[in-house]
């Protein structure tokens, strides 16, 4: 759960720092991060719980196939955090159940 600083082959050109919120808590990532990579870099492992048995889930495929990393982003549920770019001020939350749209509110 950390950023790689020295790598024999790659140099990571990190963009500007981005502030976001996970379950209300302030965290930092970089431009170029996806929501999932920023969470992982901040030590978050549990992204949501399974719908029926409420088991903890993290990411699994990291390329947008498997739905393991779905979260609520700025109030919108079921966002694939592994392919969604991180943006300034985003509010990221774990989904309970299937997620609600709140169109009536």
């Amino acid at each position: 759960m950390k950023r790689i600083e020295n790598h024999p082959i790659l140099t990571f050109k990190r963009g500007k720092k981005i502030k976001f919120y996970f379950e209300g808590k302030e965290m930092w990532g970089y431009e170029g991060d996806t929501i999932a990579s920023a969470l992982v870099a901040n030590g978050v492992k549990v992204f949501r719980e399974s719908i029926k048995l409420h088991r903890p889930r993290g990411f699994y495929c990291a390329i947008g196939n498997c739905s393991s990393c779905l979260m609520t982003v700025d109030g919108v549920p079921n966002i694939r955090t592994c392919i969604t770019p991180l943006k300034e001020g985003m509010h990221i939350e774990r989904i309970k159940g299937k997620g609600a749209l709140h169109y009536e509110d």
């Binding site: 992204f47 990411f59 699994y60 495929c61 390329i63």
Partner: protein, 364 residues
């Protein structure tokens, strides 16, 4: 939007399909759901196996950049990034979702090159955080510069598992073990195996993971030797202090769009499971739909690129455009030679089944 050819997926197969169709004069829309082209290649820092003239010795990430540049420079190709093909409608519209916006595309020909998904391990607790696809770890590490754990067990010693082992070590992580159920190494290339041996990473053949401990996330994993019937041998268990388990036990083609479009799929385990029936010209059982790359059967980036070229050229030809038939023959020859390697016997068996099925259905 109208177009001659819609290419779905911007990996090695899709990029090359777009280039060839465009070169023959077709208008092409290439949709890719990620924010960048390249597919799985964008995380492959290792030098490629295969042929020198087909990119062996070049790192995957460089190959991806070269093809992406060729795509972007071609005036006949429109690239839509962060754009996902989500379904086909009765009037022939393929719906593309681009960051919440819906774009219907009406293509004459469709090339599906969406790649594959990593298989999951069917044991208890393999769903908790800390158990990740090997390719997913590679993505986190090489695309975003983030290590998702410190101490790793790798399950599956094919190319992907073995390559991941030394790449993790390169990035500063500790690899406690690589296990595989096979008695001896099958698909992994020796260059990579030698590397992990030199690094002192233990490789346990005829072993598997039998227990994953952890409440919220992985806290340890127990491996054991297995007998001929794949049953764990009592007394051989070893509990490893790991926080992350990488699963590299194979890939299966992404077939949902093909299924929805009515392309016939058949079960060929040697090619990754359910695969679209298709000819050597990459035509499927649906007249206007072509496939290429991992989505048509699991192989490698070099074969994906060649299949992409064939699909792009054949689609253009079917549109009535002029293509060089000798180019197509040449690419088929190269595919044949790549598939002729001694390690690839299982693959050839799978391809044989596929070609029989295509012949039975009269696919050209």
């Amino acid at each position: 939007m109208k177009t001659d050819v819609l290419v779905i997926g911007g990996g090695p197969a899709g990029m090359n399909a777009a280039i060839e169709a465009a070169r023959a004069g077709a208008s092409v829309i290439l949709v890719e759901r990620q924010a960048h082209l390249g597919g799985q290649l964008v995380k492959q820092t290792h030098k490629f196996f295969g042929w020198a003239e087909k990119g062996a010795g070049t790192r995957g990430i460089q190959l991806a950049e070269e093809w992406a540049r060729a795509v972007e420079e071609h005036k006949n190709i429109t690239v839509l990034l962060s754009s996902e093909a989500i379904g086909l409608y009765d009037d022939g519209a393929w719906m593309i979702e681009q960051e919440g916006k819906l774009i219907p595309v009406y293509p004459k020909k469709i090339i599906i090159a969406v790649g594959a998904q990593e298989k999951t391990l069917p044991i208890e607790n393999a769903d908790i955080p800390g158990v990740y696809g090997a390719g997913a770890i590679q993505t986190m590490m090489h695309v975003y510069g983030v290590l998702p754990g410190e101490k790793y067990l790798i399950v599956g010693a094919g190319n992907i598992g073995v390559i991941l082992a030394y790449q993790l070590a390169q990035a500063g992580a500790e690899v406690k073990a690589v296990v595989d159920v096979l008695p001896k190494l099958g698909g992994a290339y020796w260059v990579h195996v030698t590397k992990i041996r030199r690094m002192g990473i233990p490789l346990y053949m005829k072993h598997t993971v039998i227990e994953i401990k952890g409440d919220q996330w992985v806290e340890s994993a127990t491996i054991a030797e297995i007998d001929e019937k794949f049953q764990p041998i009592p007394g051989t268990e070893k509990e490893l202090d790991v926080d992350t388990i990488a699963i590299s036990i194979g890939l299966s083609p992404l077939t949902d769009l093909m299924y929805q479009a009515g392309v016939e799929l058949i079960w060929i385990p040697e090619l990754g499971g359910l695969v679209p029936v298709h000819s050597e010209n990459m035509r499927t059982t649906k007249p206007n739909i072509y496939v290429a790359g991992d989505a048509s059967g699991i192989e490698e980036a070099t074969t994906a690129a060649l299949e992409g070229k064939i699909a792009g050229a054949v689609a253009a030809k079917d549109l009535g455009l002029t293509v060089n038939d000798s180019d197509i023959e040449e690419w088929k020859n190269e595919l044949g030679q790549l598939r002729d390697a001694p390690l690839l016997e299982k693959l050839r068996h799978g391809l044989h089944k596929l070609h029989e099925a295509a012949k039975e259905r009269g696919l050209q």
